[in-house]
């Protein structure tokens, strides 16, 4: 019996291992291909080799030689961080209210915010374009930050209210009894416990802002506020005869770095079981 059981689990293990390998390769191969492309010189760009025959940093030097890319990088980082910060702060407060309070129109509020998240963004681009032009927000940082917050907030509220619901209600009562104002109770007891939720949300919102192409290409026109995904699409190569694929690959590699850093930085704070020990469990 034990032998058969063992064989079965070994078989299962191999099966799962294979499946995992396929998924990992499927997900990572394009990334590796881009990395490989980015290290090829322009002459060997189209040779089809997976491992570059001659390694060169030419593409990286190219993209950083002009302000087109560096400026876009600054725009992207600035816009994404500001939008994330604002969305998370407001999202935290809104989610807390939704999780804790019973106020008239609560379900309506949650419904409307979900509706916003489901609304096809492409149908909003033209009206937004007109609105921003008449308000003078077109091609500015706030012009992108505002729509990002709008679309990130429902996501933030939804994720965060789930986290808030898990925090024992009695902790807040205890804080009140210990002499805290509602504000103090929130800042010193509830918010620290919701930190994993806040960081998770921050990561999600940041990735959403960072990757957005639709709003960025529609609501910007110059280097002043153009973000990286858009700048990438404007890459032309140093001459019109040159294929910009190498530069695009290099830029693509560069823009994944902040995301990885951001996720790694916050992931350490996403610790499970932060509320354990609060109440008898």
């Amino acid at each position: 019996m034990a032998g058969i059981g063992g064989a079965e689990t070994t078989g299962k293990k191999v099966g799962w291992g294979l499946l995992n390998a396929v998924v990992v390769i499927y997900a990572l191969f394009p990334v590796l291909w881009i990395v490989s492309l980015s290290f090829k010189s322009s002459a060997t760009l189209a040779d089809g080799n997976f491992i570059p025959r001659e390694w060169s940093l030419e593409n990286y030097q190219n993209i950083f030689s002009t302000s087109e890319f560096t400026r876009a990088l600054i725009n992207s980082i600035g816009i994404a961080i500001i939008a994330t910060a604002i969305a998370v702060v407001f999202g935290t407060m809104a989610a807390y209210a939704i999780a804790r309070l019973d106020f008239p129109g609560k379900n309506l509020l949650v419904g409307v915010s979900l509706l916003i998240a489901m609304f096809p963004q492409v149908s909003l681009v033209s009206p937004l374009f007109e609105i921003e032009r008449s308000l003078g927000l077109f091609d500015t940082w706030p012009g992108l930050i505002l729509p990002y917050i709008t679309f990130a907030l429902p996501l933030a509220i939804y994720t965060l209210s789930a986290f808030f619901r898990e925090i024992p209600w009695e902790l807040e009562k205890a804080a009140k009894m210990d002499g805290a104002t509602p504000g103090q109770a929130f800042r010193r007891v509830i918010a620290p416990l919701a930190a994993p939720g806040v960081f998770t949300t921050a990561i999600l919102v940041f990735i959403f802002c960072w990757n957005d192409f639709l709003f960025a290409i529609s609501l910007t026109s110059t280097e002043q506020s153009r973000t990286v995904p858009v700048a990438l699409s404007f890459f032309t190569g140093s001459s019109q005869f040159e294929d910009p694929a190498g530069s695009i690959a290099a830029a693509a590699v560069v823009i994944t770095i902040p995301i990885i850093l951001f996720v790694l930085f916050f992931q350490r704070r996403i610790v499970a079981g932060l509320t354990s020990g609060a109440v008898k469990g």
Binding site: K176, M177, G277
Partner: protein, 394 residues
């Protein structure tokens, strides 16, 4: 430290449900008072109203002579220990205990000193730098107590603080809670559903049922002189036996045999304008094996013979259980008590009886025993209202 006065305090929820009805209670400075009752009797609601966690619908709450109905919990200067402890999991034991002081903007040196003192009292000194998740249940409970005592509040409120502990630890903590309260001399309101805690801890006990106070008094007084069926059945473990009985010309007739009422009981019953049909209540310790009772005493009590169902020998005495044929005593109060202990869905055939006999009793399981009870200790209740017909202030 201060006295707390509840003046016709009521709580009505928005849906119209009346959770607490006109509670009148004066808690003296330094008194240890217990609110006890089955679940849903309004004891926790009353505590939360004193704490300020729930609004008072009607009536007035005064702490140290000041009306505090409208004051926020933080301005009432009272500390609370929760059933779930509600420790802040992201803070160490020290930070947990220092939290009320930090909020009160006490300077660092004082915070340090007070936390040390509290930790010493509660034997937590070596755990100060640990997080709540690494503590045992008893230690968590002590941290919760520590958080309450550090700032010398006017009063402590405790909401079933021991009910999450295992039985042995609970007994241990019970004595330390009692000692701590004596040591600090702080007014304490303690909520529990456990009548043993109520009996052992409090200076006075408030028995509640359905949002209404049934009786207030010292534990021994409640035990000896319950105001009604509910208090009689709730206080005491094992609980009082209830048997339907009828009064005829100064004698009491029941399945426990006829007995003549003693003068004391007769006077009380006559004064109370008793109906003919009553419920007779008698505590297990007022029974005895008839062979061990002197002849003079035998005459002043009732006697019956029945087969012993179960005999539990506790060493110091023996518990004998009987099932007598007859109708069970019926009343709303008794049904509620049965529901609270979960025995209402066990339809018992006949009347079950618990008796405590001397350890030298020769009663044997499965064999008939001759049992005597003390007629002077009998309590008689009105079946329709539950009122104790033999109630006396003495």
């Amino acid at each position: 430290m201060a006295e707390i006065v509840l003046d016709k305090v009521s709580k009505r929820y928005p849906d119209g449900a009346l959770a607490v009805q006109e509670v009148d209670l004066e808690i003296a400075d330094g008194e240890f008072i217990i609110l006890v009752g089955p679940s849903g009797c309004g004891k926790s609601t009353t505590l939360n109203m004193i704490a300020g966690l729930e609004d008072i619908t009607d009536g007035e709450l005064r702490i140290a002579g000041q009306r505090v109905n409208e004051k926020a919990p933080k301005d009432r200067d009272i500390a609370m220990v929760f059933q779930s402890y509600a420790l802040y999991p992201h803070m160490t034991v020290k930070e947990n205990m220092a939290f009320p002081l930090r909020l009160a903007k006490v300077d660092n040196a004082t915070v340090e000193k007070k936390v040390r003192e509290a930790a010493e009292i509660l034997d937590l000194t070596q755990h100060l730098d640990r997080k709540p998740s690494n503590l045992s249940g008893g230690q968590r409970q002590r941290v919760a107590m520590g958080r309450a005592i550090v700032r010398n509040p006017k009063a402590f409120l405790m909401d079933e603080p021991l009910s999450n502990l295992d039985a042995k630890l609970r007994v241990q903590m019970r004595t330390s809670v009692s000692r701590l309260q004596k040591q600090l001399g702080t007014t304490t309101v303690y909520v529990t559903h456990d009548q043993t805690e109520a009996m052992t801890l409090g200076d006075r006990v408030v028995v509640m049922r359905g949002g209404v106070v049934q009786q207030i008094g010292a534990p021994q007084f409640l035990y000896d002189h319950p105001a009604n069926l509910f208090v009689a059945g709730f206080i005491g473990s094992p609980s009082m036996n209830f048997v339907p009985a009828s009064l005829e010309n100064g004698s009491l007739r029941s399945v426990l045999g006829d007995c003549t009422l003693t003068d004391r009981v007769r006077q009380l019953v006559e004064g109370a304008d008793a109906p003919r049909e009553v419920i007779m209540g008698i505590r297990p310790e007022h029974f005895e094996d008839a062979e061990l009772v002197e002849a003079t005493a035998l005459a002043s009590g009732g006697r019956f013979t029945s087969q012993v169902d179960v005999l539990e020998s506790m060493g110091s005495d023996k518990y004998a259980y009987f099932t007598l044929t007859g109708e069970q005593a019926a009343s709303a109060e008794l049904q509620e008590l049965a529901a609270d202990v979960g025995s209402d869905d066990v339809p018992g055939e006949g009347i079950s009886l618990v008796t405590r006999l001397s350890s030298s009793s020769g009663a044997v399981e499965g064999a008939p025993a001759d049992i005597w009870f003390d007629a002077d200790k009998v309590q008689l209740f009105d079946p329709s209202t539950g009122r104790n017909l033999t109630y006396t202030e003495r």
